[in-house]
């Protein structure tokens, strides 16, 4: 089977960059009688347009034809050669690039003999690789052009409304009875200067009125199957059990406000309330006080919750301004550890609060403020780290600014969708450049489920997630290669030799992507790999006791042959 593969070898001199150090002529002579090489020649260069034209003419377009290029690194011009040949109809899978320039000539400039030896070994390994390499078969599915959005808070409704604009049918699930999420608890959104309230209103209108939105309030997901392009999600909505088929999932489940417990004598003294309780009175009768103190970082940025919840500072600024609007003569103080208002809009808002008369006192984690009073809070005692003095501040009202924490069912949702969570319980994402893609293909996360954010940012993230889902589904034929392109890696899938598989289940236990499973096959269990889920990480290969699961691109035979070639 191997012998009908015809390898043509081209060695690039790179205008002397390679040939001045590496003795290409001796390598060429050595390859003349190599059983697997049909031709071997030196060329002045390989990467210029005219070279690639010339090269393509000499490579027959037959399935047996293989090409070995001894040139430069893929990151240098190697990429251009392969892409150029691909454009001229040559399958890049049949090309092996060996780096003779950066890896041999340049780095061993002082030692031509060793550089030549290394180049020869690398070429021999390349020839072995070309003969033994197999390729994963690509799988194509017709993606479902519908998207599931979980959570109808600001991120979720923004994602849903954006998908409607893109012409995609949206299934919007929410645990609550009415859309809006945490926004339902608050009187006004801040800062209001950037049009966020209007956006929210427009989104809510779309959610309520668009024929493309299927809205399921009071829902709970019970089962998830499938993978990117084709998920089946079962859920209960009220008393109904439903099942839907979607191509992508956007998780916008939000977060909840932590309760302060007994911190700062909460629930013990009258007048010590949480920010959410203050919002409730703003929505209701209003809150008119003569003096109020906000305490930031309550139960967060400490040993138990070592993170900054990001939204509490701007929220307290807003509430402080609201208190001053209700009573302009009130004394409103914010006790903080750092005011977190990055950027221009929030920094402006901070300045606006200062101009409105809000006072700021910085305290330290080691010296938290003390609350004084018998039944009703009367006074706050705080060590001001800037002046180094203790201050006493009259307080009729103490507002505890608590962080957002992951929802109680975040773990359950993570398990259903097979998502990773960070140490705080928020959903983990792929990378800085892919900040909304979860570790699972086709599942995106936005809003506070990912990290605490204000409504303005949640909206942006919802739109961005909608765009990402659309980009994935905007095709009639979704291939595993295409999905892998979203992951910035080469496409490869684990392949099981059913004859050899003993059904031990090691691969099932170790697979981080839930791609391996055991299947009954003629009275025995055999491992099977979901092509759409496999990422080609190779974990299963390393635990298989008899080598019956392999990555075709890096199979054991290939690596063995390459090693043999290197050391023979």
């Amino acid at each position: 089977m191997e012998d009908n593969k015809q390898t043509r070898c081209f060695l690039c001199e790179c205008y002397g960059e390679i040939s001045d150090v590496v003795d290409l002529e001796s390598i060429r002579k050595g390859l003349e009688h190599h059983p697997r090489i049909v031709s071997c020649e030196k060329v002045k260069s390989l990467c210029l347009e005219e070279n690639i034209d010339e090269l393509a003419k000499r490579i027959p377009l037959s399935p047996e034809s293989r090409v070995l290029l001894g040139a430069c690194s893929f990151l240098a011009r190697g990429d251009a050669i392969i892409t150029g040949l691909q454009k001229r109809g040559i399958d890049p899978k049949h090309i092996e690039l060996v780096d003779l320039r950066e890896g041999c000539a340049w780095i061993h400039r002082d030692d031509p003999a060793s550089a030549t030896k290394k180049a020869g070994d690398l070429i021999n390994m390349g020839i072995a690789a070309l003969v033994q390499r197999n390729y994963s078969e690509d799988l194509t599915i017709e993606p479902k052009q519908e998207v599931l959005v979980i959570g109808a808070g600001p991120a979720g409704i923004s994602a849903a409304a954006s998908l409607v604009k893109l012409g995609i049918t949206v299934h919007l699930l929410d645990r609550a009875k009415t859309p809006g999420g945490l926004l339902n608890l608050i009187k006004k959104i801040a800062p209001e200067t950037d049009g966020t309230p209007q956006h929210v209103e427009a989104f809510l209108y779309t959610v309520g009125n668009s024929p493309l939105v299927r809205y399921y309030p009071g829902s709970r997901i019970s089962a998830v199957r499938g993978s990117a392009g084709d998920f089946t999600v079962e859920f209960t909505s009220g008393s109904d059990v439903k099942s839907i088929n979607v191509g992508a999932v956007i998780i916008a489940t939000g977060a909840r406000v932590n309760l302060p417990g007994s911190l700062y004598r909460y629930k013990e003294l009258k007048g010590v309330i949480t920010g959410i309780e203050l919002e409730r009175s703003f929505k209701g009768p209003g809150m008119k006080v003569t003096s109020a103190v906000f305490i930031q970082c309550v139960g967060v940025r400490d040993a138990d919750r070592p993170y900054c919840s990001a939204i509490c500072c701007p929220v307290s600024l807003k509430q402080a301004i609201q208190l001053l609007e209700e009573n302009p003569d009130a004394e409103v103080t914010i006790l903080h550890r750092d005011i977190m208002c990055p950027g221009s809009v929030l920094e402006d808002y901070y300045r606006k609060a200062m101009e409105a008369g809000v006072r700021f006192v910085r305290y330290d984690q080691d010296t938290p403020p003390g609350i004084l009073g018998a039944e009703q809070v009367e006074e706050i005692r705080v060590y001001d780290v800037i002046t180094g003095r203790e201050r006493r501040i009259d307080a009729e009202l103490v507002v505890l600014s608590s962080p957002l924490i992951p929802h109680d069912d975040a773990a359950r949702v993570a398990e259903l969708f097979d998502l990773n969570r960070d140490i705080h319980g928020f959903y983990e994402v792929r990378s800085l450049m892919h900040p909304l893609e979860t570790t699972k293909d086709g599942v995106l996360v936005c809003g506070s489920a990912r990290w605490p954010v204000l409504a303005r940012t949640a909206i942006l993230q919802g739109e961005a997630a909608a765009m990402k889902a659309f980009a994935l589904l905007n095709t009639d034929q979704l291939t595993a290669t295409q999905i892998s392109q979203f992951k910035e890696r080469k496409f490869s899938l684990a392949l099981v030799d059913r004859q050899a598989c003993t059904g031990c289940g090691n691969c099932v236990a170790i697979c981080p992507y839930d791609a391996c499973s055991l299947e009954a096959d003629q009275g025995a269990y055999k491992s099977t790999v979901s092509q759409m889920r496999c990422t080609g990480c190779g974990s299963c290969v390393s635990v298989c006791p008899n080598g019956s699961i392999q990555l075709p691109e890096q199979n054991a035979l290939l690596i063995g042959e390459m090693l043999k070639a290197a050391f023979s």
Partner: protein
């Protein structure tokens, strides 16, 4: 890839940094043709000039390179480097955009990076675009080049053509996305920071370049003055930012940037003393506070609250004095440092398009945030923000352009 057919008219994305790249890729994947116009010779923007990224501590190069390559290879994206917007005019149902492309004397498709042109050049006008540039190529800086032609003679692949002239192309576009990012700002007018009075008082971006692993010093920290290791470095936060005289906004990236730089200094040279003068330590982003705790707890970086009142070179070039107030004792103190890194003065950079009724109107802070709803923008030029936020906003801007909506 059998994406659905592209829209008739393309979209222009101005700026090839992380925001511009992401917006272009998202639009292309959604089926819209894009012209990506970058002022500089390579894509990547400010991130490509960074050594490491916070909070991952990964090299900036890795996540960027794949995206830049995807951009260059995407059939729906036309990349214009060394290009600037000349005019944007409204015509019937479209925008007529004139793009000026400056001559790129070295053809990046022919340059094999052999470097023979560099010693041939008498005026030091040729250099690489850094190890991170894609495609890798040497580059002739127009402003230094005397057009002597010596490089042409030594180039083995005839990649250099110094007779190449500027070209201008006219594109009928559906919409424009501004993603022009930011640039370093010279804060010497704020005299108290002493910028320009001593070689070792530098901006944080200059410090990043000076100490980068892929840079001149291969990651070691030395003084510019005498190439010796410094004993101490002061990082001054909010220098020129959160300052009504210059940039009233918070530049959003500098707190973490300084922490990152200080901890990399510590990691590579543990004996160097690092002090960060800060106003508020804004470690509010995803996993930023963990980074802050790790770095402050583990590596003895000293944090001092407050903005120094005066920074000046000590007599006899013996270090730099930083004068600041100890608010607790209410006394003025002077501390000597070997290097001072000024963090904060990042200016939103906008390609100046000649006034044609469609140039962006900036708000009082030089940003695009509060402007006319028909102009779409993303990234730092809209509001100071970090990489993650820029990428998110780019996708959001791409959506709004794709569906033809006002932002």
């Amino acid at each position: 890839m059998s994406a659905k057919p592209p829209h008739m008219k393309p979209v222009i994305v101005i700026g090839g940094g992380v925001a511009g790249i992401t917006a272009s890729l998202d639009l292309a994947r959604a089926g819209t043709a894009v012209h990506l116009v970058e002022k500089g010779p390579a894509l990547g923007g400010q991130v490509s000039a960074l050594d490491k990224l916070y909070p991952t501590d990964h090299c900036a190069f890795c996540p960027l390179w794949t995206e830049v390559r995807n951009c260059m290879l995407n059939p729906l994206i036309t990349v214009h480097t060394c290009a600037e917007i000349n005019t944007i005019t409204k015509t019937d149902g479209a925008l007529k955009v004139v793009v000026d492309e400056h001559p790129r004397y070295i053809d990046e498709n022919r340059c094999i990076s052999c470097g023979r042109c560099v010693p041939a050049c008498g005026v030091d006008a040729i250099s690489t675009l850094g190890a991170h540039a894609y495609p890798p190529s040497y580059y002739i800086y127009r402003e230094k080049c005397t057009l002597c032609g010596k490089c042409v003679d030594v180039c083995p692949t005839s990649a250099i053509d110094i007779n190449r002239k500027a070209a201008s192309s006219e594109i009928l576009a559906r919409d424009v996305i501004w993603a022009t990012g930011f640039q370093d700002y010279d804060i010497s007018p704020l005299e108290e920071y002493g910028y320009g009075t001593h070689p070792d008082i530098m901006s944080s971006l200059q410090f990043e370049e000076w100490t980068a692993e892929s840079g001149l010093n291969r990651g070691t920290v030395v003084k510019k003055q005498d190439n010796k290791q410094p004993a101490s470095i002061a990082f001054i936060q909010c220098a020129g930012a959160r300052d009504l005289r210059l940039f009233p906004y918070c530049s959003a990236v500098c707190c973490m940037h300084a922490l990152k730089q200080a901890q990399w200094v510590k990691r590579r040279n543990p004996q160097v003393q690092c002090v960060i003068f800060f106003t508020d330590m804004r470690a509010e982003g995803r996993h930023y506070y963990e980074y802050y705790l790790r770095e402050i707890g583990g590596s003895s970086i000293e944090l001092l609250r407050g903005r120094p009142g005066l920074i000046y070179p000590m007599p006899d070039e013996d270090g730099i004095a930083v004068k600041y107030e100890n608010t607790i004792t209410q006394s003025r103190q002077i501390r000597k440092f070997d290097m001072v890194v000024l963090n904060g003065a990042l200016q939103p950079s906008l390609a100046k398009s000649k006034d044609s009724g469609y140039s962006p109107i900036l708000d009082t802070e030089g940003l695009l945030s509060g402007i006319s709803p028909t102009i779409k923008s993303c990234g730092f030029c809209r509001e100071p923000m970090d990489v993650e936020a820029s990428v998110v906003q780019a996708s959001s801007a791409a959506l709004r352009v794709h569906v033809g909506e006002e932002q």
